[in-house]
Symmetry: C2
Subunit: 528 residues, 2 copies
């Protein structure tokens, strides 16, 4: 399968022209008057790219590529603004060389060479960053190397007793799952980017998995991690828990390539689930739905799925006519009726009604899904492809997400929605804002917003950037985090800098100076 050089995923899975036409027609009904003329991506060979400033040393030449399209496809991530710029042939920052290490020794050799020459290194996993994390958007006279970890993708060891596996950082989601399957295990970590993002990328960005409650961030699944820095390798001990000083792993988690290159990690895995329970509950009163979700989040029931979609989101992506809660439990150990029954009872207490009776299955192969949840899941995985098709039709289609404590949620939701709507109004781009919860905690939800607006071809990047500033400010005013699971990258720096304590940044600088004394690692990320 061929990865798209400019957009999401594979060219085979992109929307067909007829699918795209249906989608465009639907959008046309939602936003009458939108100019939905399709624009084709340019010929990448015709795009001018500065000559590479970096020559690979002989010893590393076999790992290096200065191929034109290779450089282009490492010049951006997969944010809306990245995809549109690619469609427009705008490649503002192209790495000089793509380097594909095959071993940790290769990684160390590359870092040594780059440290010597002062060449910047941007670690690159699956390239699905939606925050400018892999785009070398900085001036660096000595040149920039994109360090692509994809050649290191093996599951090296499985410890069935402890339910843990040692996995190389460059493994994509499906690659590591395929290697775990013969043992009967699974990582069960399914971000939307699952097919195209890597373990190392998840760790470096503190990615969020598909479990809606409980241990769900990749942080919780890391047992130990190995990182190569310009000063050498650093590896924590495999431990189920520890109280010995600040956690070394937690310094690397979220470091976004600024402190070192994650090369492998021991990950907590689990048996494949046998029992599943699924239900969809609709709420005519969205606020009551939010209270139901909060009660479930504080109940200790820990549903695997607890996605709450507002009415607009539910209409667009699940064909529902009111807000819905997609509830699911799963277990490799026990049937789930008592769990689901109590969760449904909580929903009923808050005015929710089941769209159909909960479905229970107890086979490892059969998947229990209710109609609405099934529709929503399919849409979930297809969303980035739809995004690309709409982006090529002048639509502004982007998401952003946050987390806040429950007491602030109503204000945050109202403030963010108003800010996005006001920004769209003042830009003259008609559109809608949707909201769902991707994850919920006892002390707060992680709201995930979608923007669908009819932009102006050639200006949609700038139009989105204005909307993004408005919602970033609104999130910051409401004391949410600028990102719950999309990382900081370059796009979130202005708000990250206001969110994190100044003295923490000072401490992090001190740490970085020790690990990356010349400052070659992902310049502009988190610091500086």
């Amino acid at each position: 399968m061929g990865r798209s050089w400019w957009g999401w995923g594979t060219t085979e899975d992109a929307l067909s022209s007829s699918e795209a036409e249906v989608l465009a027609a639907n959008v046309g009904q939602l936003l009458p008057g939108a100019d939905l003329t399709a624009h084709e991506p340019p010929d990448p060979r015709a795009i001018a790219v500065p000559a590479s400033r970096v020559e690979a040393p002989v010893t590393l030449a076999h790992l290096c590529s200065d191929d034109h399209v290779d450089r282009l496809s490492h010049a951006h991530g997969q944010a809306f603004r990245d995809v549109v710029r690619a469609l427009l042939g705008r490649f503002d920052h192209v790495p000089d060389l793509v380097v594909r290490p095959r071993s940790e020794a290769d990684v160390a050799a590359v870092l040594d060479w780059c440290t010597d020459r002062g060449i910047a290194v941007v670690p690159f996993g699956g390239g699905t960053s939606v925050v400018g994390g892999v785009e070398p958007r900085f001036a660096h006279d000595a040149g920039v190397v994109s360090l692509d970890l994809r050649e290191m993708s093996r599951v090296l060891e499985v410890d069935a007793t402890s339910q843990a596996a040692l996995i190389e950082a460059g493994a994509l989601g499906p690659e590591l799952e395929e290697q775990l399957r013969p043992y009967g295990y699974t990582l069960r970590f399914y971000p939307q980017s699952f097919e195209f993002s890597t373990l190392g990328g998840w760790i470096a960005t503190r990615a969020g998995g598909h479990f809606a409650t409980g241990p769900t961030h990749i942080d919780d699944l890391v047992e130990s991690v190995r990182t190569v820095t310009p000063r050498g390798a650093m590896e924590s001990r495999r431990l189920p828990g520890s109280g010995a000083g600040p956690s070394p792993d937690r310094l690397i988690l979220g470091s976004e390539g600024a402190l070192g290159v994650v090369t492998r990690a021991w990950m907590r895995i689990r048996e494949r689930p046998r029992w599943r329970a699924a239900a969809t509950v609709s709420f005519t009163d969205e606020n009551a739905g939010v209270r139901a979700v909060r009660t479930i989040a504080q109940s200790g029931l820990q549903p695997a799925n607890c996605r709450f979609l507002d009415a607009v989101e539910a209409a667009i992506n699940a064909g529902a006519s009111s807000a819905i809660l997609v509830l699911g439990f799963e277990s490799a150990d026990h049937p789930l009726e008592p769990w689901m029954e109590r969760a449904v009872e909580i929903c009923r207490d808050h005015g929710g009604s089941l769209t159909e009776p909960p479905r229970y299955t107890d086979s490892a192969d059969e998947v229990a899904r209710s109609g609405a949840s099934d529709a929503w899941r399919s849409a979930f995985l297809r969303m980035p492809y739809q995004r690309d098709a709409l982006a090529a039709r002048s639509m502004i289609v982007e998401t952003f997400e946050t987390a806040c404590t429950w007491d602030r949620y109503d204000d945050l939701r109202a403030g963010v929605t108003a800010a996005a709507e006001e920004a769209m109004r003042s830009l003259g781009v008609p559109g809608v804002v949707t909201c769902r919860f991707t994850h919920v905690y006892p002390d707060g939800p992680a709201p995930y917003f979608g923007v669908y607006a009819a932009g102006t071809w050639g200006s949609t990047v700038e139009q989105w950037d204005e909307i993004k500033v408005a919602v970033g400010e609104a999130i910051n005013r409401a004391c949410g985090t600028i990102t719950h699971h999309h990382a900081v990258g370059r796009d979130h720096r202005p708000w990250y800098d206001r969110q994190r304590p100044d003295l923490f940044a000072a401490a992090l600088s001190g740490a970085k100076r020790e690990l990356d004394p010349v400052g070659i690692l992902n310049p502009g990320i988190l610091l500086g």
Copy 2:
């Protein structure tokens, strides 16, 4: 109630002479021939202490004490070796001044003054460190201040919607629980030291709570934390979850006073449990019991209590004749029969048998406990007092704990037990080693060992130190952590230094230089 100046807790709750006699008689049966003569603590006023090298500035004088007994009681923690040295009148390192700030401004003023003068500052919460964390065991010509946070003990705010509370760092367990009770909430964090240790101490040391599974370390309960450093205050945003860079809180968690002084934190609280389930399962085959516990830890059932006691531990502390598993569930939301029934089924699959049918209660006031678990719990809270009584009778009574992955547990258990027994043999001190699990994770247990040996009066500190070296080496060989929840302090440094990655220490040094440029904070802790 009067805190003991030399030993555990309050003088009122110490063992009476008759209780101590009964205990000594029991121990005499276990270890025939032991010299159990009782030794009395010295008169603290008669203990020579170096003159204070530090004079409080006028502006801070009202917070400072150079009282003789005050200084002595801040010169040690509550490890066995601390208590025995106190009994012997050995105070090797006494702080020059005890300072009791009443506000964060006071803390900042003290740090400013100490930074100016180069005076060392040892943060002091409840003083229950069992690892030398509060003992100023270092040379520091400019003198040492013990910064006692106990005056700052208020619950400042309760957010009932998000189930979180803002609590000052100097609050003891009972103090914060009393303040939360009127709201119907509880932190439900019960380390053995609960009555005498503080929130700030728990955070600084990554303390472990009483939940045996799931979110149980204090790390998991911290929503945001505020820390005063010599460079100023640092406060993270209140967030239920975030992916914005490495977690600022996780740098402070476990920093043991080396990076700053925790002054307050937003903590995740919960409703008081209404439903409880309790059962005790006995296992004639201890290895089968371990497998049952592992299966439960990996089942997703998350019992609140899942303490596994080996046969010796069960005999001494629960009057049982074989290894037992003390199982408990609790919930504020739902009855617990399905949870307990499945856990018991797992135990039966591994050859366990219930000592009596599981007990279920559904009142907030009534507590469900089986006989054995009740006996064990009482013993648990009384243990430190018994330890003191036995320490005064030449007994070596101490615990140490670790965590490891399940695949390494058998080797770790055997290696540690053999090392302790060999050390006792070569010292000529007859004794026993016990083991229980205090916490279990899907990927491994946290084994907690006890040593009870008949030592030689006047030499028990040195005898224990030799045993400790032997077991520390054995833990390190088996790749366990040198501490799961007792912190590093000064006693665990040799093994901590081998456990944590060298480059992480370098990074931490870099961070410390930024926050504590003069290096006044708890010298010798974690670094240097």
